[in-house]
Subunit: 330 residues, 4 copies
């Protein structure tokens, strides 16, 4: 029974609390949030106690922490948790600065405490199954990858201001998926973005529509397409081409109902957003974390995965700004 | 080069003329119709001459006739063509009376002239492919068959009056497909029908919505569903279950375009009717007829297939009238 | 908080216990089973106490019972629960004898205690959504209904022996769905069945492959197709045709992964069986039961729904035995 | 009746001859080819006479020529045809040098003779329908476009050597489609390519796997993905995202047959290559050409469309070589 403390009780903190409550192998002991009301509400729902984050990290009846607080607190909490010997599952991104992430990983390395980064999409049952088939050689050597990621609607102005920009906040998930699928590191990144429809995005100098093109040393090509808007629901697709064929994973609709009439055939929109689409992924992610802690294995995605995705996001941000492709040191 | 005469220049006569004109192995020499204008129009379009049906049958430069005239003329023309030694492709049904069909087949047997019945759906590329996979054992022994056949809109009152009723006019195609797929003869037929939406159908004592349930000696079960109406186009599907799995053939949409918006995902209606859906089938049917005549093989579906489908249609008609299942002599 | 006792701790008892544990509006207080070990195991997993069924029914801290015991105990438990004033959710069928069901309903009527029958498929999110669209007039008046239900593999010989036969054990779900979708009562039933592949089924004089054709007073036609076997998973589909179009609900695959190679395009089999496919339906069923008990509304499907589905199953059984269609009193 | 001469009797010349023979509004009068046998074969099949290209262009009984000869002859023939007053349908590309194309267009401008370029994909029924819905505003302002184009297998070494490279030979179709769909000109092009599997491609310094990312002045983004190989058939898809939703066109399979078994659900590969997939497009292309010549309207795609696609192909070639994005003058 893994005894868990949750640091941060916002939207994603609630997701992890809900996963943990449905998992018979762990128990939420304590929760913390800068807003006491948020912590209180989650504590009431989960039977946990409310404490300060530092108290949770120091508490002897806590085995592991899940970091769901604002991004600028992540690296500090990871370091504090490592010092206190607590296994850590940290939401992405570790930090908006790749240098800060690298420093954090260096500092915690001696402690040898498990650190897992919350790239939840790797645990989507379909994406995971697809990747396993890739690794098993179902379609041979990889030639190209395409990742599509469209949110249903743009976030708030406040969220955008603190997000680090679309490439670091949103496309970072796709950079992680690209590495997960490609099985080798991208060595060159080109990206382009436009502010086409969201005035907050434009006011912040950010983009709402973007694409990236990555290339690996072996010559495999990866295309990523992101948008902050999709009228028809949360659009999350991957497609991989290899020497022997193609593997792809499709979207999930609200229901399987289809209506046919004079104007044609009609099916439902997609599951609305990540809470609906990726709830099974969050549950499987937590299971993997519990397994890793129990067995002493290094959890995956690791802190290094967090760092390497961030470097891709930084490169994409620079490429979109300068119009040049960016080479990455391998 | 098979030299062809077409008897009957209505809708289906035009279909066969069009197929023949695109086929480099045959030539339409002459056409006949009770309405001289109809014959004239088809002759102008195809470069054929206009003659009386009997003249065509007697003509020395005609190798084969395609009978597309009203049903009550079919059997007489088949017999005349057999006497004249002309290979014959006759539109379904051979006759509304199974006894008349049996007599016709008996009379022409001595002549040994090829007779093929126009059950065009056997030549649909998907249906044909499915049946070949069935015969090759892809799903093992057949356990059940489902056939769906829905026309886009009811025919005219005049058509209904002379049709012999839905079971003999429309479901006869499905009875032939059932035999084609099952690979054995049904021994019991139950059918039910309703006049739900078409006032002409009701006025004639016919039905516009119907279903049948067939059983073979081995115990395989076949369900057929027919309707004279489908708002979304011409609905033509088959599904077969066997010991090892399922084989089915889907409908064909006007285009592959899909639109996704707030209300969901939308695709086109189906191909509108048999001219659009089954044009490739008519072309392959004519090819098979030409092959059979050239090689001396018996064409399939044969006159006996015409007779056996008619007996199933008669049994269904009686079953729907009496509410009892009808046993067929094997 | 609805305090629940579960009578019967087999496969379906576990399903309901799991639903109840994930539902914050109810609590499993006690469980009973003729096999003490089965009760013990479920009690351990759910934090409930083990008691005898009669003790649970009599217990003052129990508000409702869920009856998951063998069929021949259902009616007695329903009556005992009604006498004790406990709301009841009873698994289908209420009894293998329609007369016994009718007597049971008559006896409990004066008590006015809520009784709900576990026709779980009505609560499948897609089936439920389809039915709501039907009732809202999306495709106009209903003309025909098709229901397909194929289990992945036959049950044990022991199960078959006590099942009442395929029509009463398996197709009863489809009869309930037919009534749910048609919105009016069938007045005539024809059914046919065969023992094609399962030797236990054959030994018991039962069938493993079956079809039924129902007709309503208004003339709507319903086709049902059942099999005890499907190599590709649990096949559960419905399709309804109306004056303005078609509504259908498709199957659910294990994942959305698709592989394309030289031999074509390949997707996963279906969710394996009812536990996987209908878990959301069981959860929604329990929610509806809790709502009904809380509000004092009559739960649906009611005891009468249980009786009417049983009468259709009896009629189908008789029809398959005699080869005649059976008329039902309305 | 448009009297046509076909210059070049190779693969694509045969396609146009076949289209023309099935079109009642035109007639193939004469054919030419550097290989007399090729010309003879096509003449025999189509009832045309064999002549030299220059003779055909000069012949008074020829209204229009279809140029299907090697690329390096296109511009000269276009100019000769313009001088002779013959309407011209020229296969893509006009020339491998954009400057040569520009000079050609300038020279023929005074003659005012219709010139159409054979970007056949614009006439695919699904792509055309999608583009019409775009122009009609079905999904609002365009935000991003994705085009996928994968050939079933690489061409011969000889073909590759003379092709001008993947971007000019293959992706030029996608550049034309991009312009057709976007409705505005790309102003920046980035491209990347790899030689991953074809040794001939590698020997020529060409690529077999490539991607491009285009951006328009308004900020719309277009991604293109090409490969010289696809085990599952000819992969041709487009997807467009706009302010109100998505429009996409899917691939076409050999048949609609689906088989389900223990390992899942299986459908056919795609139509094998452009002859199968785009035959209807070639027929509609010829129809448009005949219409334009008859009405005096400028055919579309025009010579300018040929020039602008070539400039995009040149820019992509340079980008892939240098690793920099290329800006285009508008």
């Amino acid at each position: 029974m893994l005894r868990i403390g949750i640091l941060g009780c916002g939207r994603i903190g609630k997701v992890h609390a809900r996963s943990a409550m449905q998992n018979s192998r762990c128990k939420v002991m304590a929760v913390a949030d800068a807003h006491p009301q948020a912590a209180r509400a989650l504590a009431d729902g989960s039977g946990a106690r409310v404490q300060l984050a530092d108290e949770i990290i120091a508490s002897p009846d806590i085995d592991a922490v899940i970091i769901c607080s604002p991004t600028d607190t992540h690296a500090d909490y990871i370091e504090a948790a490592a010092r206190a010997g607590k296994a850590t599952l940290c939401e992405k991104p570790v930090d908006l600065s790749a240098d800060r992430i690298a420093a954090c990983l260096e500092r915690i390395a001696p402690a040898g405490i498990p650190l897992m980064i919350g790239f939840n999409r790797r645990f989507d049952p379909s994406f995971d199954q697809l990747q396993q088939q890739l690794r098993a050689g179902r379609i041979g050597d990889i030639e190209s990858v395409s990742i599509i990621s469209r949110d249903p609607a743009p976030p708030t102005a406040e969220y955008i201001r603190r997000s680090g920009g679309l490439f670091r906040d949103m496309m970072i998930h796709d950079f992680d998926l690209a590495r997960f699928l490609l099985g080798e590191e991208p060595v060159e990144v080109y990206a382009a973005g436009s502010a086409l429809f969201d005035k907050n995005v434009r006011a912040e100098g950010d983009v709402d529509t973007a694409a990236a093109l990555l290339k690996t040393a072996r010559g495999a090509i990866c295309q990523i397409s992101c948008s902050r808007r999709a009228s028809y629901g949360y659009d999350q697709r991957i497609e991989v081409h290899g020497a022997k064929g193609m593997l792809r994973a499709a979207n999930i609709h609200l229901t399987t109902v289809e209506c046919a009439d004079q104007s044609g055939f009609h099916t439902d929109p997609l599951l609305n957003f990540f809470l609906e689409r990726y709830m099974p992924a969050y549950q499987r992610e937590l299971d993997h974390f519990i397994d890793a802690v129990a067995s002493g294995a290094t959890p995956s995605p690791s802190g290094w995965d967090g760092l390497l995705a961030q470097r891709l996001a930084d490169a994409a941000t620079e490429s979109a700004r300068t119009g040049r492709s960016i080479k990455l040191e391998s």
